[in-house]
Amino acid sequence: MDRDQFLKCVDEILELTPGTLQGSEQLDDYPLWDSTAMISFMALADSHNGTRLSPRELGACQTVSDLLRLARVEP
């Protein structure tokens, strides 16, 4: 799964039209970024490359790019 495909999965988690997220978005702007979405993101990262995410680190993410770095989708 490349970066764009991964982002589309994050779009789905946040119930957005595929292709909406680019990376620079602030998570605070998405009310659906809640504990349920975090669990979905943890499952996505685990399925993608076996990355186990710490909920504390996940909770500290500010932007979509932060999420991608944590999930080792981008450096």
């Binding site: 009310p31 809640d34 943890m42 995410l53 909920p55």
Partner: protein, 342 residues
């Protein structure tokens, strides 16, 4: 000698909480979203006057009515509950009297949640193998709904009340048996699934009843159940695959030699992910939370009954049972089934 499961019955109380009811209460969560995340369409809730013992009595009476055993044949009662009738006396002692089980029977409560059924089977196996008991009534009963704040959707969408009764006795063939067992415990996870007040550490008081709104808009006080969903999910990813692997190794079998997998029915999303992660075929994996939700220590026996009714569980099946949750606590075992549970 090994123990074998002879019969299972369960009971759910009559008050229903449907996903439609919850969607009406939490308008930003649709029926479709709750269903997709939890796989639960309906939860059964105890009435204010109904306690865990009442649910356990109803489940046990169903078991006796089925003809599987008579009360006077039971020589040990094991009750798994975290919502006992009283701090003391032991609820299992009350059940001995209410069920007409002989006063020569042993009886004890043990306090575990979603791993409780595995531990109960392990205790029963040990009691039977050591000759301390021959016919055990294992009861699991919870009224978690009494711990839930009505405005806390993080837990209200998931948990339901129920009790299950399992009859165990010595296996009379070489093939039908329980075990081996694997266990695990990590008390570092205690704060992630907890009712903080009400015990001796923090007695219930007006202070503990003060309600707080969390960042997600859920309301609760220290008297209510708190669950940190992401931490619990992380815990299951951490321990369930390795526990399954450890059980396979000590059993000297491979994953494809297991006919049926019955995991604690936490919620559909979590189980779907674990099933895929473990590469378990869907047809070998039981999903049975839709009609009663996460009933804590009763999910596995309820799922076994469901699997039997669906034709998934057949005599001579090798069944893997895995429980995991509050504590943290987890355990797994194999059941070489020789019983038609339906």
């Amino acid at each position: 000698m090994h123990a074998a499961i002879r019969a299972i019955e369960y009971f759910v109380p009559g008050n229903l909480l449907t996903t439609g009811d919850l969607a009406a209460r939490f308008p930003d969560w649709s029926v479709a979203k709750i269903d997709a995340k939890t796989g639960i369409q309906c939860r059964h809730l105890a009435s204010p006057e109904q306690c865990a013992s009442d649910l356990a009595v109803a489940a046990a009476q169903k078991l006796f009515a089925s003809g599987a055993s008579r009360p006077e044949e039971i020589d040990y009662i094991l009750l798994c509950t975290q919502s006992p009738d009283y701090f003391l006396p032991t609820t299992a002692c009350l059940l001995q009297s209410r069920l007409g089980i002989p006063t020569t029977a042993g009886a004890l409560d043990f306090n575990l949640g979603c791993s409780g059924y595995i531990y109960g089977l392990g205790l029963a196996e040990a009691l039977i193998c050591s000759g301390q008991a021959s016919r055990i009534l294992l009861l699991t009963a919870e009224t978690y709904s009494k711990f839930l704040h009505p405005q806390d959707r993080s837990v209200r969408t998931i948990f339901g009340d129920a009790a299950a009764a399992t009859l165990l006795s010595a296996a009379d063939t070489g093939d039908a048996r329980l075990g081996p067992f694997v266990y695990g415990t990590d008390g570092e996870g205690a704060p992630n699934l907890i009712v903080r007040a009400g015990g001796m550490r923090l007695r219930g008081s007006p202070d503990t009843a003060v309600e707080h709104l969390d960042e997600q808009g859920n309301l609760r006080s220290s008297d209510h159940l708190f669950m940190n969903g992401p931490e619990i999910f992380n815990f299951t990813l951490s321990v369930v695959p390795s526990t399954v692997q450890r059980l396979l190794e000590i059993s000297e079998i491979t994953l494809d030699q297991v006919d049926l997998f019955v995991f604690h029915q936490a919620n559909r999303y979590m189980l779907d992910h674990l099933r895929k992660r473990l590469a378990i075929p869907a047809e070998k994996f039981v999903m049975a939370m839709q009609d009663c939700g996460n009933t804590v220590s009763s999910t596995i026996p309820i799922a076994l009954k469901y699997a039997a009714a669906q034709g998934q569980l057949r005599p001579a099946s090798v069944v893997m049972l895995v429980g995991f949750g509050v504590g943290y606590s987890w355990g797994a075992t194999l059941w070489r089934c020789d019983t038609a549970l339906d």
